[in-house]
């Protein structure tokens, strides 16, 4: 089972740790944000990097989830403190 050399599974990227140029850990890749290109396909534009190994964000980073106040506040507080968005092109895989 040899995948083509230029394909990769999203599962391999998600969860991977990210370091800045000086080697300091910025967190793990929690999700990948895509944008629609003119030809209709989705291109990966940036990555959500979260400090805590949070895994699933329960969906509270979107606006459509209004949730019970308590859970929403809890989730957004955690996300705001520890999230950075990094353009995908700035990531180098190693």
């Amino acid at each position: 089972m040899n995948p083509e050399p230029n394909t990769i599974r999203a599962g391999r990227i998600l969860g991977r740790p990210v370091y800045d140029r000086d080697g300091r850990p910025l967190g793990n890749i929690a999700d990948l944000i895509t944008e629609t290109a003119p030809d209709g396909t989705e291109h990966v534009a940036s990555a959500y990097v979260v400090k805590r190994p949070w895994g699933r964000l329960l969906g509270y980073e979107r606006d459509q989830a209004t949730g019970p106040r308590l859970l929403q506040i809890l989730a957004r507080w955690i996300l705001r403190r520890n999230t950075t968005v990094i353009p995908f092109s700035d990531l180098e895989t190693n």
């Binding site: 895994g55 329960l58 989830a65 949730g67």
Partner: protein, 410 residues
């Protein structure tokens, strides 16, 4: 009459949840040992399951998707797999216990040992799940289970000390001979029995089997607000009659025949026959519910085709899981473990599985992508949050209580 049958799903789910073999004996035993000082626990449980079943029914009706589908989406595959494994274990063990319970009910009626009935019952169960229409199963077992109303009637014929009973209900706490440890152990067990995970999964999958849409929201709510309180009432009636007959004598209850005794005392042979019929329908209904739930949850985790509304050829993996679950249930029983003891263990473990079950339901019920403008209002969210906290406390307390009180033996 047709309207009456429309609530069959809610009634069946509630019966399988509130008066399965474990609950029948737990309520009987609680009544005998503690009087009705646990009445408030059943009330709290009814409110909780009504809140969450309403949310699940709404999510399934509006989005067309069963609730367990969404557990994997929201919690991620790893956590959802833990959830699946835990609830599958509880569900299959409960299925085994229910098969034993049906056997015990038949033993009461025929004096043939329950273990001999088990393979027969298992086969009939599998055949019913394979071929009988979902609506027929709902109607027959849901409505026959309501025969347990005989315990309500029996109570009124028993000349109970209503003043003393009212005092018990309004003063929660262990009576003489019991301590707070065993009191809380029974409280947690009775609460967990009201909110077992498979109830919600079954109800929401049933909603999809019935092809409910947004126009059926009222039907869904009627199912919930009539069915579950009715189930709670039946459980309470068993606790009540047991408290009336056994508590003053300081005897304890640990067998199905003892639970039926108050009905026999009050209404003679007819009462006993009604009680046995009710036990049979309720435990068989619970066996159906747990058997189907096992299939539903596995299929919905992996995204397989599922449901009785499809031809078995097209849902082969689903039907295989149901078949294997029934076989495992039979195997467990053939180790001659006491079915009633088995349910008591599974009740404790299901208490532990509750928080992970209910958290994603609460989250999804607020998501506009799924429900549009039918998301939770403030009341639903308030109830949802309160019960999430209660369920968390119960989950944390369950196993320590079980160990400290040695399964409530004290």
């Amino acid at each position: 009459m047709k309207r009456f049958f429309a609530i069959a799903l809610g009634v069946l789910t509630a019966i399988g949840g509130f008066v399965d073999i474990g609950d029948i004996v737990a309520n009987g035993e609680a009544g005998a040992r503690f009087g009705i000082t646990h009445a408030w626990v059943l009330l709290v449980g009814v409110f909780g399951i009504c809140a969450y079943a309403e949310m699940s029914g709404r999510v399934s009706a509006v989005s067309g998707r069963p609730v367990f589908d969404l557990v994997r989406e929201r919690l991620g595959p790893r956590v959802a797999l833990a959830n699946l494994t835990g609830s599958l274990l509880v569900t299959v063990l409960t299925l085994g216990a229910e098969l034993g319970g049906v056997g015990l009910a038949l033993q009461l009626a025929t004096s043939v040992n329950y273990l001999l009935w088990v393979p027969v019952v298992a086969f009939v169960l599998w055949a019913a799940l394979w071929r009988a229409k979902f609506s027929v199963l709902e109607n027959v077992f849901g409505l026959t289970g309501l025969v347990l109303i005989v315990f309500v009637i029996a109570f009124f014929r028993l000349h109970a000390d209503t003043g003393g009973l009212w005092h018990q209900a309004t003063h929660p706490g262990p009576p003489h001979g019991e301590d707070w440890g065993t009191y809380w152990f029974f409280a947690v067990a009775l609460f967990a029995s009201a909110l077992t995970p498979y109830e919600v999964f079954f109800f929401s999958s049933g909603a999809v089997e019935e092809r409910w849409t947004s126009r059926d929201l009222i039907t869904s709510r009627v199912n919930v607000f009539v069915g579950f309180p009715l189930g709670g009432l039946l459980a309470f009636a068993i606790m009540l009659t047991s408290a009336t007959v056994f508590h003053p004598l300081s005897t304890s209850v640990d067998s199905l025949s003892q639970v039926a005794l108050p009905a026999a005392l009050a209404l003679g042979k007819l009462g006993l026959a009604a009680a046995i019929l009710g036990f049979f329908a309720a435990t068989f209904g619970a066996a159906m519910e747990t058997g189907l739930s096992a299939g539903y949850t596995v299929a919905q985790y992996f995204g397989w085709n599922w449901g009785k509304l499809r031809r078995p050829r097209e849902a082969a993996r689903f039907h295989t899981v149901v078949l294997v679950s029934i076989l495992v249930g039979v195997a467990v029983l053939l180790t001659t473990i006491d079915p009633i003891q088995l349910t008591e263990y599974t009740l404790v473990f299901s208490a532990v599985a509750l928080p992970l079950t209910y958290l994603p339901i609460l989250v999804v019920a607020n998501d506009r992508d799924y429900l549009g403008d039918r998301v939770n209002g403030r009341l639903a969210n308030a109830l949802g949050l309160i019960y999430l906290i209660i369920v968390l406390i119960a989950a944390v307390a369950a196993i320590p209580l079980m160990i400290i009180t040695r399964m409530g033996g004290g």
